[in-house]
């Protein structure tokens, strides 16, 4: 065969190989999107019988989960003779521990972020960031272990609670998981504020704190808000810490000294023993759908605010008509 022709053929082969690889690379991007969709579809699929199946309806409907039981109470007892599935105790438990965790984590994380970006000397900055990364790297099962073994005793000694595993213990444990994400996002937002803002404020005679409070924080507000929203999403979905350290009693008490049961811990604790395809099984997947939806929305909102901050600092006008242009004659 003519050497030129065989060379051309080889090139053609190479192009085919290349084509195949490029198709694979393109489809990998598709897989990323598909993964998220599949997660929703396959969790929701097992929750659908909650709406459609008459067999499930004999035991539980979405309506019966929201309404009070015949005795006027709300309780979560899925394995009793007459299974009771009230969402209220789980909702109260989840919100209670999330509130305690955010109450502790938000001030500490945002305060630390302000310190790192505004006041800290270089050496402190290079020390605190890896420490927060270290905290983020502690597996949540280890934090849960620490909470149940050590923290619970300390909290009990300090507050005199009767219940050893309560919302305070679980909330402190949970805040350890929330702090890194809030800190990281807030610190990013504060550092993204241009130096000129600070210089201008200082030139007008403001001291460092006034600059941080009056200029930098307001400028970075969408980012700091995003940090709070993402922290909320993390707290709602966290499983192992609350599963191990919250006591897992489904009560409707809002007292933080009482024990509690969250959505995530309920799934983790009950799915292992449940009969496949039973009403209880579908209820647990339904809880999963609720969790997915709540965290999905809070993530979307969080990232939306982060992007808004970027646009704002890049100097894109907030309204379609810039005010300056109108002021010109």
């Amino acid at each position: 065969m003519d050497p030129h022709v065989s060379e051309l053929l080889r090139r053609g082969e190479r192009r085919w190989g290349e084509r195949a690889i490029e198709v694979a690379i393109h489809s990998s991007a598709f897989i990323v999107v598909a993964a998220l969709v599949l997660i929703f579809v396959f969790v929701a699929k097992e929750a659908v019988p909650m709406v459609t199946s008459p067999e499930v309806h004999e035991e539980v409907t979405i309506r019966s989960m929201v309404e009070p039981l015949p005795n006027g109470k709300f309780s979560w007892q899925p394995v009793s003779n007459v299974p009771k599935y009230s969402l209220l105790p789980l909702l109260v438990g989840t919100l209670k521990v999330t509130f305690v965790a955010l109450f502790i984590a938000l001030p500490i994380a945002i305060g630390a972020a302000v310190f790192t970006s505004e006041f800290a000397p270089q050496w402190a900055r290079e020390f605190i960031k890896p420490v927060v990364e270290l905290l983020a790297g502690i597996p949540s099962v280890v934090i849960g272990f620490f909470a149940i073994m050590v923290l619970a005793t300390w909290v009990q000694d300090a507050t005199g609670c009767i219940v050893r595993l309560n919302a305070i213990t679980a909330g402190i444990g949970l805040s350890l998981a929330v702090i890194p994400i809030v800190y990281t996002v807030a610190e990013d937002a504060l550092s993204a504020v241009p130096q000129a803002f600070r210089d201008g404020s200082r030139a007008l005679g403001a001291n460092p704190w006034q600059t941080a409070w009056g200029v930098v924080l307001p400028a970075a507000k969408p980012g700091v808000f995003a940090a709070c929203v993402l922290g909320f999403g993390r707290a709602i979905g966290e499983t192992m810490i609350v599963l191990m350290s919250s006591g897992n009693a489904a009560t409707t008490s809002i007292d933080p000294r009482e024990s509690l049961r969250t959505f995530s811990a309920t799934i983790a604790a009950e799915l292992g023993e449940v009969v496949h395809g039973s009403p209880h099984y579908h209820v647990l997947f339904f809880l999963g759908v609720v969790l997915f939806a709540v965290t999905f929305v809070s993530n979307l909102a969080g990232h939306w605010y982060v992007n808004r901050l970027r646009g704002k600092l890049r100097g894109r006008p907030a309204s379609p008509k810039p005010v300056v242009a109108e002021a010109r004659p």
Binding site: F42, I138, V141, V142, F146, A268, F296
Partner: protein
Amino acid sequence: MRGRIRFIGWFFTSLTGLSCLLIVVAVSIILGNIVHHGWDRLTWEFVSAEPRMGMTEGGIWPAIFGTIALVLLMTLAVVPLGVAAAVYLHEYAPQGSRLVHVVRLALQNLAGVPAIVFGLFGLGFFVQFAGGGIDRVFFSGSLVVGQPCILWASLTLAVLTLPTVVVATEEALRAVPRTYREAAYALGATKWQMIRRVVLPQSIGGILTGAILAVSRGAGEVAPILFTGAAYYLPYLPKRLNDQFMELGYHVYVLTTQAPDVEATKPILYSTVLVLLLVTFGLNFFAVLLRSRIRRRLRTT
């Protein structure tokens, strides 16, 4: 008046400093407590022997082996996929296109999905849909892979750690100077040749960072493997893809919450937690070192 303003400034500045201090103290207390209680029992026998006497004696070798096998399988799945996705985002996709936006949004949201939902997904999709489907088609309905096992657990973790790998790889791709790509094109390389011969070798550090961070994350997650294959105790090590396995994090969880005699298992428990921490932190430390080297290069280019 001026004195008051100065005092307020000083006061609030100290408060922010205090919150930093609080984080440092919290981390030191946790690590200090675990190292203090776990150090004594951390012997070669402990990491190499089987558990004995209802988990109150002996070692945790099966859990360590299971963890290693699990994250290795996970890496095999997540690294090629994550690198390919990052290459697509940075090299192929038209920047600012709608598809890129959607992929990035999916990645961000994937990173925020609770670990327990991954567990439900793993059970519903991998174990029942994929595993059950394979059993029906290839094994005429007998139970082979349609059950919780190490394969499905590792794939579930792979989906969970996908964003980590993509983000780290993309950062590394960004650090490769444009002039390198132009030089490759000028020498007649096709796009894929340029990526394979120039861009990927240059970003191997970042890809490794992503892989290590993913392993560190995967080794510590318990919620996704609760229903997809982890077992409390097995008399054998997992040898096939459809075996169940013991895992360090799961071991900690079960021993903490379900051991009949907590005081008797406490020393073993502390040492197990210490091993888990050493594994995740050792890997994390390595990844942070690698990444800081890449970032330095990014600044110089």
